[in-house]
Point group: C2
Chain length 196, copies 2
DNA sequence: TAACATACATACAGTATGTATGTAAATCAG
DNA sequence: CTGATTTACATACATACTGTATGTATGTTA
């Protein structure tokens, strides 16, 4: 080979990064692979060597973004020992993480449409949704939450936050909007809290 | 002209209906206009005469679906005089309406991606979201809801329901899932209720 | 060093959108 | 009633993009 393994890996990462930029700013459908490989000083042959097709490239980008946000959420949640506070921290971190750098377009707009709802949901469950669900189930076992369907709760919360992200992303004063959103979320969660 | 006005209108409606079927079953990106016009015994020329482009056709379909669901929601809400019950009725009707006949793919998956988030949100606000927001604001004025951002509440609820629809749609026992979802929604709304 | 694999480049085929142009029928003007 | 114009399409074509097949140089391994 012309290049050693790390060099090749860097090529792949570079393609992912460039693609990520294009996808976030122009949207999946409006991005041609030619633009991407041009910027990477490669040809489409190289791209198709490393990725199955356009969707495959998007999948790689999607995973990267999701992993990034997921880690940010976990990190924030871990800052507290109180289950309830962990949930709140995680929610806020998700809003913050998904809003920034227009991740939301990849995660929430193009993601479902390009990958298909089935694939999208599997990915979402694997990363962000799963940890949320586990947290909610844990809290149910601790009698902190009412004994209603954890699945429904998970999707309810997840959906609420996804939409809130897209709402927030449109405003310049995102800090304020995140506060407003968190107020609502906290109240809603209170409704699910088990009253002792 | 070869045809009178109603005849022309019927051509347009036929195209919208056929397109709707194709979009719901195959998704926007996997539908070629040729398939659609073939089924309508027309050519793409006809389609481009009545619609600006593929996106324009989708927009027409999207509007039709949204209007349909919106009317179903309004109708359900109007069955009660109690504001709180109206909200509950409306929420349930939305779940039912959006779930059926795979409307969800057009409304919630392809919609944002194809139209772009901007356009999608405008449409969504014009139809479904607007009535929800008005209802929430009304309830706030009646001191039924806590005085938190009505915007945030609207998006929160709307997002929750959207995601719930997509979750529910995957199950054969949708009636049960809708019940589960409504349980969670009602609890969450309780958290937003103003305690006298 | 010969066989093979890797990392690309190049060329091409297929398919889809969108546009420009053509045409028959219907309506309208006088 | 007849010529002009508009409507509702069809046809033909230009363009763009994806995906695939093939070629090639370079590195690796036996």
């Amino acid at each position: 080979m012309r290049k050693n393994k790390t060099e090749t890996e860097r090529t792949i990462q570079r393609l992912i990064e460039i693609a990520r930029n294009h996808f976030t700013t122009n949207g999946y459908a409006n991005v041609s692979l030619e633009e991407i490989v041009n910027e990477a000083d490669l040809t489409r042959g190289a791209l198709y060597h490393h990725f199955k097709n356009k969707k495959g490239l998007f999948l790689a980008v999607f995973e990267a973004v999701q992993k990034e946000v997921g880690e940010y959420v976990e990190e924030a949640a871990a800052k507290s020992n109180d289950s309830w506070q962990q949930l709140i921290n995680g929610c806020q971190a998700f809003l913050e993480g998904a809003v920034q750098t227009h991740n939301q377009r990849i995660l929430l707009v193009d993601g479902p449409a390009v990958l298909g709802w089935e694939t999208f949901r599997k990915m979402d469950e694997k990363y962000s949704m799963n940890s949320l669900k586990e947290q909610l189930q844990l809290m149910q076992e601790q009698n902190l939450l009412k004994p209603v369907s954890a699945d429904a709760m998970t999707h309810c919360l997840s959906g609420a936050m996804n939409e809130l992200v897209l709402w927030i992303a449109d405003y310049p004063d995102q800090k304020d909007k995140i506060k407003e959103a968190m107020m609502v979320l906290q109240h809603m969660l209170e409704g699910l809290r088990e009253n002792k």
